[in-house]
Symmetry: C2
Subunit: 360 residues, 2 copies
């Protein structure tokens, strides 16, 4: 393992661990993305999204672009949430202008029986990227590693692609819960190994993206998504070289289940924009920190309106007190159509207003 | 006004008004739809969806099909949620296999200034259908009238079609809230007039479908969707010929806002499947009845599994007591791919189990 430079800005990690901070740290989901002209240039050179994500050099280049442009408080590995099922041999691919797809699906008893936790060596390109990015960051801000949640991976593995209604995977869930649980257990073990290897490679926090947990019915969410995120969190190494590695869990559309999510052992919960930050804070108390939750569509408005909405969100959370923590973020990935100057306004507003809150 | 036959089954209306019932009444959103072979035959004869919806004869024919096939406790007008903006002159149309679209959009200051509550005479085909259906029902079950919510209509009017992210309408909301409020006020007045005319024509309950309220951020939902549904409800005639006309409000994805929704004057709230029925009942208390909320995907499972899930939902609500009411439904429209025998299993299970609950 290389020796990494000491961390110069630990505001993000402190907020996740509910320790006092001078201001509210901020980063953006999908911050290395198509709204940045420099990203589009890198992608054109790489030829494709997977060309970027599978090359440690390109992944390092684009991960650092938003860090160079904005005073963000965290960086996140540039990768895809579906690397694990790809390594299981399902054949991840992208067609221009569409979401991710798999060449092979997991639907039958035989498909499920053949499913294995992949050899982590096949994901070495990810771990190399993590080490290279951490080295290139040179201690400026912490690096977040991530994966899709067991349920979200299963949605893509069964459907073969994204879906509006998830008929195929839900039919399996209700008709053959035994098969569904076997897929999810394999996914949970694979995701845990994958995140632990990212931590070994240099990730300083990890995040589990449960993009499709919100499509589940109450009851099914707890049994088929939350339970398996808990199994992941339970297997994570939570300390590396004597430093705590915080884990963030984010279920898009999971606002109704925050109380249960707060008890699975994660350090922080991601929130989408339907959640009231103040109410969520009161609900989770000092069990977890919160991360979120501006509607990405707000970034289409003028800078003054962006600032107003940022201040409303920070005021709704209130001033962090002992045992509470807030990391500012969007409630979903930033849109490719966002004007880059909106992000400038947002990041400045978060830093300025949150410092003033603490001074008041 | 014609004299209608006396109502033989008022279980649905009683449950909405939180009065005791012998069993839990049940109907399905989009119950007259493509999963029924007889519907597909009618649609083939009519030539198109709008051909069905704009003909009182066809609308009557398909509205009664599920009532003839299943022992449902309510019927719902066969129509579209977007008839009002169509009557505003925006030109509703459907392309095969796609959702509704409008020929003209409402985006500029001029577009908004030109917007008017449409002459209800242009919607006469709807009111004729209501009267004809109510007559054909001959008192078997009550007839529900409906409309899209002011916000949901605005989404389609501004975007020109459905959307995943609602960038255009949300940009208007955050950049020009003044324009957005003018559109919504016009929509609220139009929807109120439209529902009142349906009540005059024979509708015995009305439902407001807020399909896209769940896309809004907390705070924006209250200001741009809920407020205008309240304005609709406030203008509704709530009694016709001495009989109470219950109003149901349904925001898909609105589970986090039930407490506020319970106070806008509606008799009942629709729930999607992410909501826990027992918790929702405790939250709203005796302010409103509840309607919902099985995941439509459950109907892809075998009849035994359908029955199990119905029993779990009814057990979660618990036995209705004085001042509480529950109408069983799906949490969203029934899928066109549903096996019709799943509906048989569902309706029988609701009736059987809810009678046993009350007897226990």
């Amino acid at each position: 393992m290389p020796q990494f430079a000491p961390l110069q800005n630990d505001t993000f990690l402190r907020a996740l661990l509910r320790q006092p901070t001078d201001y509210t740290p901020v980063w953006l989901m999908r911050q290395a993305g198509r709204y940045l002209p420099e990203y589009r240039a890198s992608r054109a050179r790489a030829g494709s999204f997977l060309g970027l994500a599978k090359s440690p050099d390109f992944a390092t280049e684009v991960t650092l672009q938003p860090i160079d442009r904005y005073p963000l408080d965290a960086s996140i590995l540039f990768s895809d949430i579906l690397t694990v099922p790809d390594a299981m041999g399902l054949g991840l691919y992208f067609e221009e202008g569409e979401g991710p797809k798999f060449e092979r699906t997991v639907r039958t008893e035989e498909d499920v029986a053949a499913l294995r936790v992949p050899d982590m060596a096949s994901l070495d390109y990810v771990f190399k990227a993590v080490t290279q990015i951490r080295t290139a960051l040179n201690g400026r801000v912490p690096l977040i590693g991530f994966s899709g949640s067991p349920w979200t991976l299963a949605c893509y593995m069964v459907e073969g692609q994204g879906s509006r209604e998830f008929h195929t995977v839900k039919k399996m869930l209700y008709s053959r819960p035994d098969l569904m649980h076997r897929v999810l257990q394999t996914n949970a073990d694979a995701v845990a190994q994958y995140l632990n290897a990212q931590i070994d490679a240099g990730a300083q926090a990890v995040m589990i993206f449960d993009s499709w947990g919100g499509a589940l019915a109450d009851g099914a969410y707890q049994a088929f998504s939350l339970q398996y995120m808990q199994k992941v969190v339970a297997q994570l190494q939570r300390e590396k070289d004597g430093v705590r590695i915080p884990a963030i869990v984010f279920t898009k559309g999971g606002g109704l289940w925050l109380d249960e999510m707060a008890d699975i052992g994660a350090d922080a919960l991601g929130l989408d924009w339907t959640v009231n930050l103040g109410r969520a804070r009161a609900l989770v108390g000092d069990r977890v920190a919160l991360q979120g939750n501006l509607d990405p569509a707000i970034l289409f408005a003028a800078p003054d309106q962006v600032r107003t909405e940022v201040e409303k969100a920070l005021a709704s959370y209130g001033t962090p007190s002992a045992g509470h923590g807030h990391v500012f973020n969007l409630g979903h990935g930033i849109s490719q159509f966002t004007p880059p100057e909106s992000v400038t306004a947002m990041v400045e507003a978060v830093h300025d207003f949150s410092r003033r809150q603490r001074a008041a």
